[in-house]
Subunit: 159 residues, 2 copies
């Protein structure tokens, strides 16, 4: 069965994109993993309308990527702040992979915007595809892609 | 300088998402890296309108992720097919990272939809964040994030 003949409805990439496959959502997650927690900080830093931000935060909380915690500043009412969940941190490699693509293809002439280094030795962190057995770094030419057990044939279109 | 005070205009993640940060675009790239090349196959397999597909293909070609090549079937006029460029293949780790997230959090009960294995040994390929010096696998707790040379302060909002 070729990829083009496999039904994409249960594709994990599609399902992930249904949750975060949208620029604002991923920029909110980017900010959240970098420590942004408060509505007004997301709004100001990502640069989006309150309505879009509120909608995307709701969706990310419903999807389990962010969770809310109440906080209260002196003299103000209780508000919610947003924290990255364990599930949200599972998006970290994808965000770093997008950063890595951007650092290569859209770099500012001055250099990177953020440097992410191994705390212990100071060397840059990077995203790689590797073999889970021998840890060899893999490119697309080193892998074989096969339909898995969830692959179902794509239904023919109705005329 | 905290992340929330850094101007995100030249952020490589934002610039990458300006190019591919949209569900349909990433699903087209997903299909293209899996060997889909023709307009009608993308339309049928991704399941989108011709207008949206044509728009996203144009954008991906303009951004250098895909390139066109003419082909001609017997008795038909010359058409264009779409191939992944070297720049497009640089998105492969990001796509695999999204797949990995989906395989973990949105798995079909039957198992994975696609299995990607190291051809040489048959073990599954995976995406990891590693130290570029000692190759240790890194989580977000193992890294230090610092503003790089391109970091500029975010301008205060006008009242």
């Amino acid at each position: 069965m070729e990829w083009v003949d496999i039904d994409g409805d249960n594709c994990p990439v599609r399902r992930t994109l249904d949750l975060v496959g949208e620029k604002w959502s991923l920029l909110i997650v980017r900010d959240a993993v970098n420590g942004v927690r408060r509505f007004e900080d997301f709004r100001r830093h990502v640069g989006m309308s309150e309505a879009v931000l509120a909608d995307r935060l709701r969706k990310l909380v419903a999807g389990g990527v962010l969770e809310t915690r109440p906080y209260r500043e002196p003299g103000a009412r209780t508000r919610l702040e947003y924290r990255v969940t364990a599930k949200g941190w599972d998006l970290w490699p994808a965000l770093l992979a997008l950063k890595q693509f951007g650092d290569k293809h859209f770099a500012d002439p001055a250099g990177p915007l953020l440097e992410i280094r191994h705390t212990e030795c100071g060397a840059p962190a990077r995203v790689v595809v590797e073999c889970s057995a021998d840890h060899a770094h893999l490119t697309n030419r080193d892998v074989t892609v096969r339909p898995g057990p969830a692959a179902r044939p794509l239904a023919a279109e109705a005329d």
